[in-house]
Structure formats: structure tokens, C-alpha cells
């Protein structure tokens, strides 16, 4: 039953080759089908051995309390993207395969299988990154992603050589802990590249700022969430992170560099991509501390960061740097999202930062809280600057240039003004951004809705016992 989550999107992707536009119409229904399947027909605590081969020999798909909430969140994001993004002719088919690959990477319990799904996600990411004539950014991402993928392959094979099997549960049980750190270095390099921790994440600003409504959402939110899942599965659940302090320090430096980078950006898209880098680096730093309190706060932070970036990037894609004069609703959603990123009290972002700081103080580690606060101040700086600039874009220009055709400078203002009128946002995008902005507010008032989920994920992730029992028990 679990395999349907992967087989159905693939089948529709293959079926949508004949006509270019077909894929675009299949995507929302497939995402809806996945969500319905997840809610009504599946419950956590299942394992599916593909081809009925025992888990150690074949590939086992594992649905437990950690992968279930992540699957729901990712498929929800895919549904939102299907409604809000304007997809070119063949992109629908690609995003269908991306749905299958993302479900696959969350479900699979096999190292080499996750490498194959990681490669599918990377290949689709290179194509989507080349959207809006951004071939240079896509090529840089291809080179970084190529090295990352090869490192993951080396890690997967060395796990096989040392433990005799590729299955995650058995491999962790068998390999002796002394050699685990050296094997994990390979996985670590891949995650530093894919999760955009700065020295290795230099490809991200060019890729996310190409102004398309698909790239930053497909890569920034959907792929990032599934890779954070894989990061926590491998480094919290199965193996433990090699020298976590070093990784923490590297990620903290990446937060500060990203924030400073975002501050001096002229272009809104690049500022947002640097903000995404700092957000994900915060999550990586928090996860590298291996405490259940901090991990649950990290997942809450990820939830808030991904949803608000979804809104910001969608509106940037449609509005560019034109103001909100003509469409107030978009402006409201944009402001809500940026306030939530900063951590304004009545939004989800406030609780995210609050839980994180509380957990960190309990664990009495003071480096990260200081950096988070500094980052929050810098973020407040440039986000408010952008908000003010975008809100008052249309107003002040007409006053100081009286409406008379007397100079080229004036006509330039003229066509920019009426250009603001033309820039419409598709109905789907408006609805989606408003809906997500509302969820931020709702969770701002009732954080326990999400916080309980993240607590259960964090407790399950750090406890290897149930995962291994699930695999040993075998099943369906």
C-alpha cells in the first residue's frame, strides 16, 4: 500500500509524455491522492518489503512516526505548489517525478536507494534551476550536486562493505561504532552541499534568485524538508554525527555569513535566498546537538521557515520588485510572512524562536542563542527595509513628478506606474499565499498544534529501538 505513494506519481508522469500540458493537470490530483492515502488508509508503524524480499536483502519502505508527519508536510507543500506555481509545458511531468522521488527518499530504508532518489531529486533540481534562462546558476549547482552525489555513493558502499547489508536498520546495528565517524564524513559532505551550509552552499543564491515561481519553492521548501528528514534519519537515528561541535561551528558561521550577505543585497530574490540559507543552517546547527528538546524546536523552526519562505518567494516571483499598490492582499501575505520570519509575537515564527531559545538555555549552550538573536536583528533590518520599500513603491513617485509629458525620466515613471497595474497574480497563487499566511497566524495563537507533532518526531528520531524492531518484525 505504501508503494502507491511512489508508483502512482511515476505512472502519471510516464502517462503525461504525449501532451506537454498534461502533467500540469495531473499534479494537483496526484498530490491530493497522496494526502488522502496518507490520512485515511495508512497509519505509522508499517514496513513494506518491495518484492517480498527480506529487509536485509531487498529494499524496505518504512513508515514510522518520524516519516509519517514529514510525508504529510511534504505532500501538503507539493499540493500548495501545484496550485500556486505557473508551470511551463513539460514542468508538470518533472514535478510528478519529483513527488515520487521525495516520497521515496522519505520512505526508503536503504542507503543505496536513498542515493538513487537523491540523484533523481538533483537531476530535476538542475532542470528546474535552469528556469528563466539561469543556466549558469544551474551549472554551478550541477557541479556541487555531482560531487555531493558521488560522496553519498561512497558512503553507501562503505557502509555495505563494513556491515554486509545496505539496509539502514541492519547496517546501524551491525557496524562497530569505532569506524562510523569516518564513514559518516562522506554523508556529511553531501548534506553540507545539499543543505546549503555556506562554504559548500555557494550555489544557492544564484539558483534561488532566478525569479521563477517554481525553483525556489520546489528546491527551497520541498527538497530541503525531505533532505532535513534524511539528515536527521541518518545522523540522529541511525549513526551519530562525527564531531558535532565542528559541524555546529561551521553551520553557525554559515548563519552569520548568510545574514550579512542578505543585508547587502540589492535584489530581493538574492536577499531571500541568503535568508533561506541562514534558516536551514540554524536548523542544521540545532539538530547537530542531538537533544530531543532542541531537535523538536528545530523542526518547529523548519516548519515556520519553510512556509514563510514559500510565501515570500511566490510573491517575489510574480511581483518582482514592483510594489503592493495594486494588490493589497499579496502585500498583507508578504508582510505576515516576513514578520513571522523575524519572529514577531503573534506569528508562528515567535514560538519557533521561543522554543529554540528555551531548549538551548535548558541545555545551557549559549553560542547558538547569541547567534540566533544577532541573526534575528539583521533579518529584521533588511526584511523591514524591503517591506517598507515595496509598500510605498507606488505612492511617492507620482507626487514629485506632476502629470505632464516633459521628459524621458517622467515617461519611465509613467510606464512603471501602469506596469504595476498590469502585474496580476494568478488566482491560485493569491489563495495559496493567503491560506499559508493564515496558517502562520493560527499557529501563532495555538503553537501546540505543531509543537506536539514536533515533540513526537524528536522523541522518535533520537530513539533507534522502534525503528529496528519495525525492520526485524518485517511485515506486509
Amino acid at each position: 500500500m505504501i508503494a502507491l505513494l511512489i508508483a502512482v506519481p511515476l505512472a502519471f508522469a510516464f502517462a503525461s509524455i504525449p501532451h506537454e500540458r498534461l502533467g500540469r493537470y495531473f499534479l494537483p490530483f496526484v498530490a491530493l491522492f497522496n494526502l488522502v492515502c496518507l490520512f485515511f488508509f495508512m497509519e505509522p508503524g508499517q514496513i513494506l518489503e518491495v518484492g517480498r524480499w527480506p529487509a536485509a536483502y531487498g529494499i524496505a519502505l518504512v513508515l514510522d512516526n518520524v516519516s509519517y508527519p514529514f510525508l504529510i508536510f511534504v505532500n501538503f507543500l507539493i499540493l500548495m505548489m501545484a496550485l500556486s506555481a505557473t508551470l511551463e509545458n513539460r514542468y508538470g511531468t518533472l514535478l510528478l517525478v519529483l513527488t515520487a522521488a521525495v516520497n521515496g527518499i522519505i520512505l526508503t530504508g536503504d542507503f543505496f536507494n536513498s542515493f538513487v532518489f537523491l540523484e533523481i531529486i538533483s537531476v530535476i533540481a538542475y532542470i528546474v534551476a535552469a528556469h528563466k534562462d539561469n543556466a549558469l546558476g544551474a551549472f554551478k549547482y550541477l557541479i556541487f550536486g555531482g560531487i555531493g552525489g558521488t560522496m553519498y555513493l561512497l558512503g553507501a558502499v562503505s557502509v555495505y562493505v563494513k556491515s554486509g547489508t545496505l539496509n539502514m536498520g541492519y547496517a546501524a546495528f551491525i557496524t562497530d561504532p569505532l569506524i562510523v565517524p569516518t564513514i559518516c564524513i562522506f554523508f556529511l559532505i553531501t548534506f553540507l552541499v545539499e543543505l546549503k551550509v555556506l562554504p559548500l552552499g555557494l550555489w544557492a543564491p544564484d539558483v534561488y534568485s532566478n525569479g521563477s515561481s517554481v525553483t525556489p519553492i520546489a528546491l527551497g521548501s520541498i527538497v530541503t524538508v525531505s533532505l532535513v528528514y534524511l539528515f536527521s534519519r541518518i545522523f540522529l537515528n541511525i549513526f551519530d554525527l562525527p564531531n558535532p561541535q565542528l559541524v555546529g561551528i561551521l553551520a553557525m558561521i554559515s548563519i552569520i555569513l548568510a545574514e550579512l550577505g542578505a543585508l547587502k543585497q540589492k535584489n530581493l530574490g538574492r536577499a531571500l535566498s541568503f535568508a533561506t540559507i541562514s534558516g536551514v543552517s540554524t536548523v542544521v546547527t540545532a539538530l547537530s546537538m542531538r537533544e530531543s528538546e532542541i531537535a523538536s524546536a528545530a523542526y518547529f523552526y523548519l516548519f515556520n521557515d519553510v512556509i514563510s519562505k514559500f510565501i515570500l518567494f511566490t510573491l517575489f516571483a510574480y511581483l518582482g520588485e514592483r510594489g503592493f499598490k495594486s494588490n493589497k492582499t499579496a502585500g498583507i501575505a508578504f508582510t505576515f510572512a516576513s514578520l513571522s520570519v523575524i519572529g514577531f509575537p503573534m506569528f508562528a515564527g515567535f514560538w519557533a524562536k521561543y522554543y529554540l531559545l528555551k531548549a538551548l538555555f535548558q541545555a545551557s549552550s549559549y553560542a547558538l542563542p547569541a547567534i540566533i538573536l544577532i541573526a534575528a536583528v539583521i533579518e529584521a533590518g533588511y526584511l523591514i527595509k524591503w517591506n517598507v520599500e515595496l509598500w510605498y513603491k507606488g505612492e511617492d513617485t507620482p507626487e514629485n513628478t506632476p502629470k505632464v509629458q516633459d521628459g524621458e525620466q517622467d515617461s519611465e515613471m509613467e510606464n512603471e506606474a501602469n506596469e504595476v497595474e498590469e502585474s496580476f497574480i494568478p488566482f491560485g497563487a493569491q489563495i495559496v499565499t493567503l491560506l499559508l499566511a493564515l496558517t502562520l497566524v493560527v499557529i501563532g495563537f495555538m503553537p501546540s498544534l505543531v509543537h506536539n507533532q514536533t515533540m513526537s518526531i524528536a522523541n522518535n528520531v533520537l530513539d533507534f529501538r522502534p525503528y529496528l524492531d519495525l525492520i526485524l518484525r518485517g511485515g506486509m
Binding site: 505512472a11 518491495v50 517480498r52 531487498g58 514542468y91 517525478v97 536507494n113 563494513k162 564524513i185
Partner: protein, 241 residues
Amino acid sequence: MRRVWAILVAGVFLYFLVGQFLPIIPTFGNVDLFTRVAFDIINKSTTTNYNAVEFKKSKDLEDGSANVVTSIVVNYRSFDTLGEVSVLFCAAIGVGILASMLKSKKRIEFEEHKVLMISTGIVLPLILLFGAYIFIHGHLSPGGGFPGGTTIALGILLLMLSNNEFKVTDVAKHVEQSAGAGYVVIGLMGMAIGGVFLINFLPTGVVGNLFSAGVVPIVYTFIGFKVGAELSNVISDLREG
């Protein structure tokens, strides 16, 4: 300056590989297969108990293909191959999208060559036959869907080189689509009959016969057609531009 930086990075990585990683892995050659999963896969005894597999003698095993690598790729870890096929599928679509977005529509023309034209007439059917042989006998002899499909694509490349009028028409797209759908349908049929996705529901027969490995030859034929169609699409997209 960049060279120094590059040598430094490569040196650090090599030091890690040789210093930290090499002592961990077993020295070349003395690998104890008993400790590995591969031992049961070789003896085809993952679900049944162990009895030696004999070429042309043992019957109705859990997986009938003589080529153990094929049995892993298509039977034991068939999910990898499904993912593998979609990597090529996305790469072919990606090249198609990006090639159609190119502004300078400049088709690569080749010099007309009498020798090449005539030799292609002789060689091409043999190449296509050889490609078909590889993926039909995937479960007996080395090779399988991927090299077989690629050989067919190279045969079509040779056809492109020899005469300029040759165009890869939409037939390739339909072949690619039906072969890919066929593979997923076999997975779903396995699910319907055997209850689990991608199960080998056909009898596996005697190791070594042509019709012996159940679903494996059918899956490899689908993959052969799909890879052949996809890669010839890729080459023709690159050429047409």
C-alpha cells in the same frame, strides 16, 4: 593561485581517504563473502534454505536468472532500477526542454560520405540486432537493459552521422512512454497478484534457459526499449537544437 588552492583541497581529501578511510576497508581481494548479503543472493537462498544452484539443473528457485548481477538489478533491488529509469527519463525531458529554449536554431550538418552511407547500410542492422540481443539475454549473459538500449541509441547516432535527412520522429517519444508505463504496470501487476509492489509473479523455470527468469526478461526488454528511445531523443535534441 587557483592551482595551489586546488592541490591543497585535493591533498587534504586524499590524505583523509588514504589515512583514515583505507585502513578501515578490507585489503583488496580478501573479502569474506559469508559476512555479506551477497552470499545468499548468489545462492538464491534469501527466503528458502540454502541448496547449491547448478547451471541448467536447479529449477523454480526464488529467482531464475543465471546472471546474478541482473537478478540483483531487476529482482532483488528492482526499486533501484525503477528510480534509475526515472533519472534517465528526467534527463531526457530536461535536455528536451532546454534544447527547445535555445534561440539559435542551428542544426549540426555532417559532410556527406559515400563510404559512410554504404557501410552504415551494412552495419546498422547488425548494431540494432546486437543491442536487442544484449537486453533479451540480459538474464543469461552480461549486459542488460541499459547497455542494450544504449547500443541501439548508438546505432541511431551512426544513422544520423551518415545521412543528414534522418530525423528522430515522435515515434521515439511514444516508445519511451509505453515502455516506461509498461515497467510500472508490471510493478502494479505484481502488487495485484502477489500483494507486494514489483514482485516476480511469473514462474522462474530452469536456471540458464531463455524463458527462465520470470519477470526479469520482460522488464529488461521494456528498459531496453525505453533507454534506446530516450537516448536517441537526447542525441537528436542536441543535434537539432
